[in-house]
Subunit: 170 residues, 2 copies
């Protein structure tokens, strides 16, 4: 049985046990959480997020520049007012550079130099960073400098994947 | 008290009640879930996701093109093998066009025509779509056509925000 099939079975049990509801589209707590895709981060559990409360945006590293579209939609069209930027200890994004990743992946996928895949790969910026705490500060600063973002309530944190605790750094 | 302060208090209780652990960085179930940032989607609850099992990527709409960087990192550097693309009913992304959003936001933020913010806004593609089921199919197809993506186990779903049930469409 694939992992996918197991998750689909879990969803059947979830929907069967859950009363139907009709929550509004805009988040009730007017919050957006930006964090990494890392499997060890469970935002619902770690923050006590309830259904309908907050937008959650996740990507590799929890990078703000890539999240700008989602943040603008969240604030300007769906009225959120607070942003938590949460990156974390032991993140894979500090372990490689874009050049290293491109070389490794081109080799693994056996991409010839003139293939479409190689061209896409050579344009893909991996958005890695050398150290997490400074990167949280830089990503918060990126948002605070954007004329498209409401900068009143943006804070930044490092999540400790061992202890489950947040440390505020920005 | 801000919503942020409430979530930080919840995190203190979470980390205090949780034994420290040391899970590996690669997801144990070798799965990546791509879904929308919508506040009514709780992937942990709706799929029974446990700590350390799966990457979760979320953005406005759950759009695959914007998630390509994260997906390549997940598969090529962290060995995931299955992808679930989950978009949902009542999504805000079907309610506007990029042109409409740009006009509304430029007015709301009072951006002058030659401002940096206006220039950034005019380059921002909102990645809206007219109908969710066809968009899930298109996003799954986008991934299956990419030479950078392992296409063996990619499936697509519409999540019903009222019932909490997934419907497979790709």
């Amino acid at each position: 049985m694939t992992a996918t099939a197991n998750y689909l079975a879990a969803n059947k049990a979830f929907s069967a046990s859950r009363p139907a509801n009709q929550l509004p589209l805009p988040p009730s707590k007017q919050v957006l959480v930006l964090t990494c895709m890392d499997a060890r981060i469970l935002p619902e559990a770690a923050l006590g997020l309830k259904e309908g409360e907050a937008h959650v945006v996740r990507n590799a590293g929890g990078r703000a520049p890539e999240a700008l579209r989602s943040i603008v939609i969240s604030q300007q069209l769906l009225a959120t007012k607070e942003i938590l930027v949460i990156q974390h200890t032991d993140c894979g994004m500090v372990t490689f550079t874009t050049d290293q990743a491109r070389g490794l992946i081109a080799k693994n996928l056996n991409l010839s130099a003139d293939s479409t895949g190689r061209k896409t790969l050579d344009q893909l910026e991996f958005l890695e960073f050398p150290e997490v705490e400074n990167n949280v500060k830089a990503d918060v600063e990126f948002l605070k400098k954007s004329e498209l973002v409401d900068t009143n309530n943006i804070t930044g944190y490092v999540y400790d994947v061992k202890s489950g605790a947040l440390k505020q750094v920005a």
